[in-house]
Symmetry: C2
Amino acid sequence: MIADLIDYLMAQSTDDDSAVLAPPYSTTNLPGFCVELGREAPLRLAAGARLGSFPMAYQTYGTLNAARTNAILVCHALTGDQFAAEPHPITGKPGWWAQIIGPGRPLDTDKYFIICSNVLGGCMGTVGPRETDPGTGAPYALQFPVITIGDMVRAQKLLIDHLGIERLFCVIGGSMGAMQALEWAARYPDRVFCAMPIAGAARHTAQNIAFHEVGRQAILADPDWRGGNYYDLPRRPVRGLAVARMAAHVTYLSEPALHRKFGRELQDRGDVSYGFDADFQVESYLRYQGSTFVNRFDANSYLYITRAMDYFDLAAEHGDGVLAKAFTATPVRFSLISFTSDWLFPTPESRRIVHALNAVAANVSFVEIETDAGHDAFLLEEPGFFRALNGMLSGAAEQFGLR
Amino acid sequence: MIADLIDYLMAQSTDDDSAVLAPPYSTTNLPGFCVELGREAPLRLAAGARLGSFPMAYQTYGTLNAARTNAILVCHALTGDQFAAEPHPITGKPGWWAQIIGPGRPLDTDKYFIICSNVLGGCMGTVGPRETDPGTGAPYALQFPVITIGDMVRAQKLLIDHLGIERLFCVIGGSMGAMQALEWAARYPDRVFCAMPIAGAARHTAQNIAFHEVGRQAILADPDWRGGNYYDLPRRPVRGLAVARMAAHVTYLSEPALHRKFGRELQDRGDVSYGFDADFQVESYLRYQGSTFVNRFDANSYLYITRAMDYFDLAAEHGDGVLAKAFTATPVRFSLISFTSDWLFPTPESRRIVHALNAVAANVSFVEIETDAGHDAFLLEEPGFFRALNGMLSGAAEQFGLR
C-alpha cells in the first residue's frame, strides 16, 4: 500500500522537472497561421479593457471559393484549439474533429472552406494570459483582462473580416463552441447563413458554474500557481490543473458510458490493493487524462476560459432577459443537436433555445441523438450524429446555393 | 479584478496559521462515549491487518429498554460522525439528523434507543489515521490499514456486543450509511430485525469512484499533505481537502436544486466583476462549504473513507458476484428509500437491491420520494421522506412487538 503510494507520488513529483518546465511549449513556432488583429482599432472588451494589436492563431482546411461563400467557422470548446483536423503539434494526436472535417466527411473539405481559430484567452497562439503584453514585455498573466464569449466572437469577426469573407455559410461548434455559434447568430445575424450549436446552451447553469469553480479552486490552491505569475519560474501549477481537468472530465462522460468502459474493472491486477494506487481502471484513466492535459494547456487560460463560459447568458446580453428577443427577426437558419446522455449541457437547454427561436418564427431544426457517450459525444464517432450533421449541412448548402 | 483576487488569496493564505494549525481539534476531550474494542481478540481487517485494542467513539439518544430490543443503529455518511442529534462539538451546528432523531420524530427517542458511532477510519474519536498507533506512539497517518465497509460494520458489531444488545431492532443510514445497513444485513442477518438503506447502493459505480478519485487527487496534490505525515506540522492540507469537499458537494445536489437556490444570482453585487472573485452565489456557497469542512475533518480520513466506499461491492463480497445470493434466506426485513433527483445514488441502484431481494423472496418495501434536493435529501426536511420513514419504522416496530 505505502509502496504503491510512494511510487505514484514519485511519478507525480514536482522534483521531476521534465514535467513541470515552464512554459511547456512555445507558441512562436506553431504550425499554421497567425494574424495580428485590432491594429486599426483596438478591440473593446465587455469588461471595458481594450486590446490593441493582438495575435490570433488559426487553421484552415479546404479552399475558399471565388465567391467566398463556402466558409464554415468551427468554434472549439473549452480545452480545444485550432488544430481541429490535423495531428496536434504538441501531443501528436489526431485533431479533435478529424473524423468530422475532411474530404467526404460531414464538414467536407472538397466543398467547404473550414476556418478554426484559437479563442481569445487561449494558449495556442491567440492572445491570452501566457502571451506577451506589449506594454510590459512580460506575459500578461492575470493582467490579461477577463473576457466573455461575446469578446471571443468579436475577435473572430475581425479574423473573418481580415479573410475578406462577407458572410459565413455556417458557424458550428460543440459545448463552448455552441455558445460561440449562438453568439455569432445573435450579434452578427447578417454575417451568418446558418448556425449549428451542438451540445450547447444559451446560458451556463448554476451546476456548471459550480463545477468550473471547483476546477479554478484546484488551480488557485496549487502553490506553484503563484497568483498566476509562473511563466518565468521552473514550476507550473500542473497538479492543480490536472485536478481541474480530472474533475471536468468526469462531467464530460455519462455514468452508463463510464460503466460500459470501466465498470468496476481493476487495472492490471487480480484483486484490489487495499491502497491508494489506481486499483480501478477508471482511476488510471482519469489520472492519465489529468497528466497529459497539463502538457498542452495553460492554467491561467483555464481560469479565463471557464470564466467566460460562466458569464455566458445570451438572454441577458442580447434580449433584456428574454431569450427570444435575442433572435427577433433573425435571418439565420438554426440547426441544433443534443445528446440524450449529456447531463452537462442536457437536451432541455437546447430545447429552451428551440422554443425561443420558435417564438420569433425563426428557421430552426433540432435533433436529439440517442447515445450513452455523454457530453463528449460531439467529439466521438457517433453515426446518428454524423447523419444529422450531413443532413443539416447539405440542406443548408442547397438553400444557400452552394454546390 | 486583481484586487478581488488578492483579497481572496489573502483570506485563503497559508500564512494565516490560525486556519491551518494541526490538528484543529483534539479527540481526547470530545463529549460522549468512547470504548476500547478489540481487547480480547484483535479485529482482523479485509486487507489482512489486525487492529488490537482500539477506540470507538459513539453517542446514544433515548433509553435502552429492559429487554434490550429497542436499539436502532444509525450509520453515518462519508463526512458525518456520531453527533447525529445534538450540536456538533466543533462547529456548534445542529446534529446532521437532528430533525429525524428526537422525541416524536421519526426516530423517536421516547420509544427507541439510538446508537451512532464514528466509523472506523474516521476522525472524531474512533481509530483512524489521525489517532495514535500504540506500536509507535505517533499518529498512524498512512500506516493505518486500508479499511472496507465490512470492516466498519465488524467494528460496530463489537460495539453492539459491548452494549449487550443481542439483536438490533433496526440499522439505518443514508449514502455510505446505507452501505453499512446493507452490509449489516448481509453479514449479521440474525443480529438485525430490519435494515433501512436510504439513498444507497450495493456497489460504488464507476462514476462515483471517479468523483472520489478527483477528491483524493486534490488532497494528494496539496504539498502540505506531505505523504500524510502532517499531524505534527504547523500546516495541514486544507486547500486540497477544501477542493475535494467542493467537488463532492456539487454531486450531493441536483441541478434543479442548484438552479432554485442560486440560479445565476450574483453575490452582493449588481453586476459581474469580470474577475475571479465569487461573482455568483453558487461560488460563494461552494467556497464556504470547502472552508468550513476543513475545520472539522481530517484529510487522511477522507482518503481512507472514500476508498472504503469505492471498494464496496456487496455482490462480490457476499454473493459470488450475484447480489441476490448475498441475501439468500435472509430473515431481515428491508425498507429502502431513494430520491428522484439523486444522481449520485440514483433510484435504479436501490431498485437493483429490491430486485435482488425479491429474487430471494425477502421482506422488502421500497419508496421513491419525489424531490429536487438531490442526494442530500436524506439530510433535509423532506415531508414525504419523513412520512415514509415513520410508516416503515412503525410497521416494523409493530411486527417486532415494540410498543
